[in-house]
Amino acid sequence: MDPFEGGVMSGAIAALGVFGDGIDFLVRERQGRGGGEVGGLQQTAELLWGHIKLSIAAMVVACAVALPVGLVLGHTGRGGFLAVSVANIGRAVPSIALIFVFFAWFGAGFVNVMLALALLAIPPILTNTYVGMREVERDIVDAGRGMGMSATKLVTSVELPLALPLIMAGLRVSAVNVVATATIAPLAGYATTLGDPIINAGVYGDEGRVGAAMLVAAVAIATELLFAAAQRAATPEGLKLSRGTQRRRLTVINRRVSTTP
């Protein structure tokens, strides 16, 4: 028997008004305005998985570009300002505009929107990686070089571990942005995200729009929490001891700046 049909559960959901209707849409199939079946756990799971798949793909591409570039520029200290500036200008271009530009090359579909989201994700990762690497105290780097560490060794065992908290903060900002923005995917012709019920309310109905929006918000919050935990885990023990409070404050400031659309 459907646990959501009738009884206490249904009563509680009804008491939530529009939000209740939204939740109801997510868990129970109904007749869509276009005629087909919409809503229900199975479709919700499909949309959710499509959403997550798209977000992960965009993050992977963004990391593949931004991390190496940020590490190299941060290590050498050359060209970093330029790269970060260019990335930040790129951030000013709305993702929706990119999607329409990308139609020219990639047509409609997954690749198009995935690249648009990757471009959205690159600036915070690149900036934080570069800044994180540059912020490693020069004396520490100098000591490492002076003891005969190779450039690779210096990056992997000194600079990267010390920059990691800030790099993780960048990933966190990007991931939340991507998860939230992946809702525009249907505009690029990729319908399997939680954006579909939001954009195509004509098909899914208002309760579909509200339900999907609530779920997107929940996923974004979950992403935020997940990356926050990862960031804490990635902070070396010795750093937590030294300037834990100071560093956390810095991270928060950086986050605020980066999440401003």
Binding site: M147, G148, M149
Partner: protein, 370 residues
């Protein structure tokens, strides 16, 4: 005067692996800058000695030091370590075999103390057990408890961090150490203690050391030889501390060592090292205490049974000076107690001689340039 008269008494031989260092017209020129940062610097540091590079900021002392391990490339000339040009050696390998201590110490904050000390041994691929025993040995050498090994730099005091920095530089027992203002960030009281500690360590280890500082007092205290540098990377004078103070090569050096250079020189000599006056010693019963030849003090000094001074003549209070004190401290003591003569005593408190302001003056006058 030779370096043996300076702050470092003649110690054991240089450690077996300490190597001499020679700057041979070493020059550093930065592109786009007409004047060189280091201008044809030539000097030799014998194995097992501390050479202090000192001078005002911008004189090229740190640049010169960093040319040794090629953190800064040599434009012209050469630097030889153990007779071998550093330019011919693999950069990383060269650096791994030269101890490196900088002012901010640069300990890795994400690594424990043991891991920090093990940095170079790890780079050289030492075995785990060999590294562990070396870390223990070094912690013991620098006087830190072994339970500190598992801590992080943030949990240590400034002085402890500085010691760990030295231990890390000593990890593979390098023939040469480079130290850039290693005590610069430490408060004056701890700095003095760390300096003394380091000198004791050096008396034992006898490494060849290039030590950079802007503080002439530190240079005089630490150096077997001092290279005074002036702006433009010129070497103004290279001499042991006593000679530098007694015979500054020019006005620049004279100014740099300071108007109190006579007093600084006094700080290099101990009371025991100068020929003291002798006073007629008498016992409390009036009998002469021991043979009295060549007494040149016009007062009798009354001593007790153990030879300890009691009073001058019938009622003069005695000002005692330890024979291990520096002449500077002795002079200060004589001036402070406003007396003409002070009784110099050994560790047991027995009189070994008498010192006066005139005698200190005589010592200074003898070494003064004509």
């Amino acid at each position: 005067m030779t370096s043996a008269d300076t702050a470092q008494p003649e110690g054991p031989k240089p450690s077996a692996d300490a190597e001499p260092l020679e700057f041979r017209a070493a020059t550093k020129r930065y592109p786009g800058s007409p004047a060189p940062a280091v201008d044809a610097l030539s000097l030799e540091v014998p194995a097992g000695e501390i050479c202090v590079l000192v001078g005002p900021s911008g004189c090229g002392k740190t640049t010169a030091m960093r040319m040794v391990n090629r953190m800064i490339s040599i434009t012209e000339g050469d630097i030889l370590l153990g007779g071998r040009s550093v330019r011919d050696r693999d950069e990383a390998d060269l650096r791994r075999h030269i101890g490196y201590v900088i002012q901010q110490i640069g300990l890795f904050p994400h690594r424990t103390i043991a891991e920090n000390i093990a940095t170079v041994p790890r780079l050289l691929g030492w075995s785990r057990t060999r590294i562990a025993s070396r870390v223990d040995e070094l912690l013991d050498l620098i006087g830190l408890e072994s339970d500190i090994a598992a801590r992080y730099p943030a949990q240590l005091s400034g002085g402890q961090r500085q010691r760990v920095g030295v231990a890390r530089a000593l990890a593979v027992d390098p023939p040469l150490m480079l130290m850039d203002e290693p005590f610069g960030a430490i408060d004056p009281i701890n700095r003095d203690r760390l300096q003394n500690e380091f000198l004791r360590l050096q008396a034992q280890l006898r490494k060849t050391i290039v030590f950079v500082t802007h503080d002439i007092d530190e240079a005089i205290k630490m150096g077997d030889r001092i290279a005074v540098m002036r702006e433009g990377g010129h070497l103004a004078q290279y001499a042991p501390p006593a000679e530098l103070l007694a015979h500054p090569a020019d006005d620049f050096v004279r100014d740099f060592v300071g108007a109190d250079r006579a007093l600084k020189r006094l700080a290099l000599q101990r009371v025991r090292d100068v020929p003291l006056h002798q006073a007629p010693l008498i016992r409390e019963d009036g009998s002469a205490a021991g043979a009295q030849a060549n007494t040149d003090v016009p007062y009798d000094l009354v001593v007790d049974g153990a030879g300890r001074p009691v009073r001058w003549g019938t009622d003069g209070a005695v000002h005692r000076i330890d024979e291990d004190d520096t002449l500077r401290d002795a002079l200060s003591g004589l001036l402070a107690s406003a007396v003409q003569y002070g009784a110099v005593v050994d560790a047991a408190g027995a009189v070994v001689g008498v010192i006066s302001i005139d005698l200190i003056h005589e010592v200074v006058r003898r070494e003064q340039p004509a």
